[in-house]
């Protein structure tokens, strides 16, 4: 009988479970520091604002988690978000279509856009980085083709959703934040409890093996990018609620924020290790850093950048050192 139970793991690259916990721990510290330094920082509404203001980023980060878990990357999400706001705004303002139809169409376009990139990546064996980088240019370019102006959305449904506040005690939360949380729950379920979700992990762990084990790698990969495109489009719709406008310059650089959030949340960029829920912690960390800076209110533009960089640095290093430490034990 061979028993290997109880043996410590020898070479797991880095335990994602620990990294994720460490992130939560660091987030709590960050919030505690903020609370101590700035009165009102720890109020419930400020915490809700974190969710309200970052709902779209959370949704994008969820899609990005899937992509990164599968060992890929998607740089097009920010642009697809912008494109979605543009499509929504254009259809609503120029054609006056039913908002629900518009939403459905926008989601479909985002999904198709992602699927197309996934297909290119898989069938032509192209680098995800490059394909989605080109996708990023393309989606932004399409925005400008629709209009280089920003278009204000006046559709009553969008306006209503934008201004609805769901009260919780004295405070409130936006429908967008709720949608984002529901998406997160659904994504966690998919990742953990469905064969598709597990196939993502398998592809991220070793694509060749996944293929040899008889998984439908092609379908999985196309679906992953389609899902990321869907998330980006959904984020775009949340963003439309949030901003009530369509604009080609919306959400520039969001892809990097999303990647940073996912990685800070404990997911390995090389794929296969991590949790979708990490996206939430990652997004909250980034959001808290920004809120902290806004509460401070004395930093000039460049100091803002430097402080964000510095906090990112501290975060990554502490996370890394702690997971090294725990791994060694």
């Amino acid at each position: 009988m061979i028993t290997a139970a109880g043996l410590p793991a020898r070479s797991i690259t880095s335990s994602p479970y620990f990294t994720s916990l460490i992130t939560v721990f660091l987030l709590v510290i960050l919030l505690a520091v903020g609370g101590a330094a700035y009165p009102g920082f720890l109020s419930l509404q400020v915490m809700f604002n974190l969710l309200i203001d970052n709902a779209f980023l959370l949704v994008i980060a969820i899609g990005m988690s899937f992509v990164i878990l599968s060992g890929g990357i998607d740089l097009s999400v920010g642009s697809v978000l912008a494109l979605t706001t543009m499509i929504c705004a254009y259809m609503l303002q120029t054609w006056h279509w039913n908002p629900l139809v518009v939403i459905a169409i926008a989601l479909a376009i985002g999904t198709l856009f992602g699927a197309a990139m996934g297909a290119l990546i898989h069938y032509f064996k192209l680098q995800p980085f490059i394909v989605t980088l080109a996708g990023m240019f393309l989606a932004r370019g399409l925005c400008y083709l629709i209009s280089i102006n920003s278009i204000t959305i006046e559709d009553p449904f969008f306006v209503a959703l934008s201004q609805t506040q769901l009260p919780i005690g004295d405070c409130f939360i936006s429908p967008g934040a709720v949608i984002a949380l529901v998406t997160l729950a659904a994504a966690i379920y998919v990742a953990h409890c469905t064969p598709f979700g597990r196939a993502i992990y398998a592809v991220g762990g070793n694509e060749q093996s996944a293929l040899m084990m008889g998984l439908r790698v092609a379908r999985t990969k196309v679906l992953i990018y389609a899902f990321s495109g869907f998330c980006a489009a959904l984020a775009g719709i949340l963003f439309s609620f949030y901003m009530l406008s369509g604009y080609g310059l919306h959400a520039q650089g969001t892809e990097l924020d999303a990647i940073a959030a996912v990685v800070i949340g404990g997911t390995l960029l090389s794929g296969g290790y991590g949790y979708v829920a990490g996206a939430l912690t990652g997004v909250l960390v980034l959001g808290s850093i920004q809120t902290l800076i806004a509460f401070d209110g004395t930093l000039s533009s460049w100091w803002t950048k430097i402080v964000i960089g510095g906090l990112l640095f501290i975060f990554c290093v502490v996370q890394r050192l702690m997971s090294l430490r725990t791994n060694k034990k």
Binding site: L126, F129, I130, I259, L269, S301, G309, V317
Partner: protein, 358 residues
């Protein structure tokens, strides 16, 4: 026993001309096609004349303007070969340019209504300082990636975010204008009729290529990129190597920063080298190097950079409205990438079997 090798040759391969097989064929073809479009669509595109004793024309512009991108792409190639990526190149460009401009800098003072220019620090010292700072940036990245084992994209993201802030901190958000003539030679001077920047690029390229050829650097970088565990067990100093490539990449970016600053005679901390990292990565891939690390082509990256710059220039020359710039760029990137993929080659062969066999 007969060897299986003897019966080897695959029929399709043998019939194709040798140069089509070459990995640089497709990037070169893409470049050629772009130039061909220019030839027919842009009158006088290939026209070169002598002006003020140096060559003047669209081609010169492209080469000159591509110079910083080529430099960045050369550095990026090595980073990518080790399975890394450096998205802080643009920030490094901003920092080195800013430092140089500030040190050389000088101000215009009005002296009885006539402008006079004053320089601050000796040029060589300023350049050395700027390069030193760039190397520090690289060392920072290298330490995070090789020392701490952070994932490259995140490690360099830190400098990408903070670096531009540092550069702006130095300049107080102002654009620093340089008034010192000799400094302009780097980015807009001419030597034997050709832009001086081309000589700098050539020098960096040749030195790098020699380094890769004449030492074991190329082999080591590839080994680390393909299988870092095996490379370590074979006795490579993997960490040192990875550290080195980030420093090297930053050094390339530093030179690019000097060039850009010198070219526009000022350091614009906020905009210098903005998104240069993305173009550099694009150039590397267009040149046929895989982002998965391992095998790389330095010459390919140079060609990739030229493709990008030619494309940009073509868009300007054709007079396309600025709204379509990005769409055109993305479509070209898609086309070049797809045409380079082996799958496309197979499909092509299947679609045109006669050609392949003939």
């Amino acid at each position: 026993m007969h060897s299986p090798v003897a019966r080897a040759a695959a029929p399709t391969k043998a019939s194709m001309p040798m140069f089509v097989q070459h990995p640089l064929f497709r990037p070169l073809a893409a470049l050629a096609i772009l130039l061909l479009i220019d030839l027919f669509m842009v009158p006088g595109f290939f026209h070169l004349e002598i002006k003020d004793g140096h060559l003047y024309g669209a081609l010169i512009d492209i080469a000159n303007r591509a110079a910083p991108l080529i430099l960045a792409a050369i550095g990026m190639t090595l980073v990518i070969a080790t399975r890394g990526i450096d998205i802080s190149v643009g920030a490094t460009v901003a920092i080195s340019g800013t430092v140089a401009a500030m040190l050389i800098g000088g101000t215009m003072v009005m002296n009885n209504g006539t402008p006079e220019y004053v320089a601050n620090t000796p040029m060589w010292l300023s350049l050395a300082a700027a390069m030193g700072v760039a190397l520090l940036c690289g060392a920072w990245n290298g330490a995070l990636v090789a020392g701490l084992g952070l994932q490259p994209i995140v490690a360099t993201l830190i400098l990408m975010v903070a670096g531009r802030g540092l550069a702006q901190l130095l300049t107080d958000g102002q654009i620093i204008t340089v008034y010192y003539q000799p400094f302009f030679f780097l980015g807009s001077g001419y030597l034997f009729g050709l832009p001086f920047s081309l000589y700098m690029v050539a020098a960096v390229f040749i030195v790098t290529a020699l380094l890769l050829r004449k030492t074991a650097l190329g082999l080591f970088i590839q080994s680390v990129g393909i299988n870092p565990v095996a490379a370590r067990l074979a006795g490579l100093k993997t960490a040192v190597l990875i550290f080195f490539v980030y420093v090297f990449c930053a050094a390339c970016a530093g030179v690019a920063g000097l060039m850009i600053t010198s070219n526009i005679k000022s350091a614009d901390a906020n905009n210098a080298g903005l998104l240069l990292e993305l173009d550099a990565i694009l150039a590397v891939t267009l040149g046929g190097t895989s982002l998965a690390g391992g095998k790389f082509s330095l010459a390919g990256s140079v060609i990739g950079a030229l493709i990008i710059q030619t494309l940009t220039y073509t868009i300007y020359s054709l007079g396309l409205p600025p709204e379509v710039n990005m769409v055109v760029k993305s479509v070209v990137v898609f086309l070049v990438c797809v045409s380079q993929s082996p799958e496309f080659k197979t499909m092509w062969r299947r679609a045109f079997p006669a050609r392949a066999k003939g």
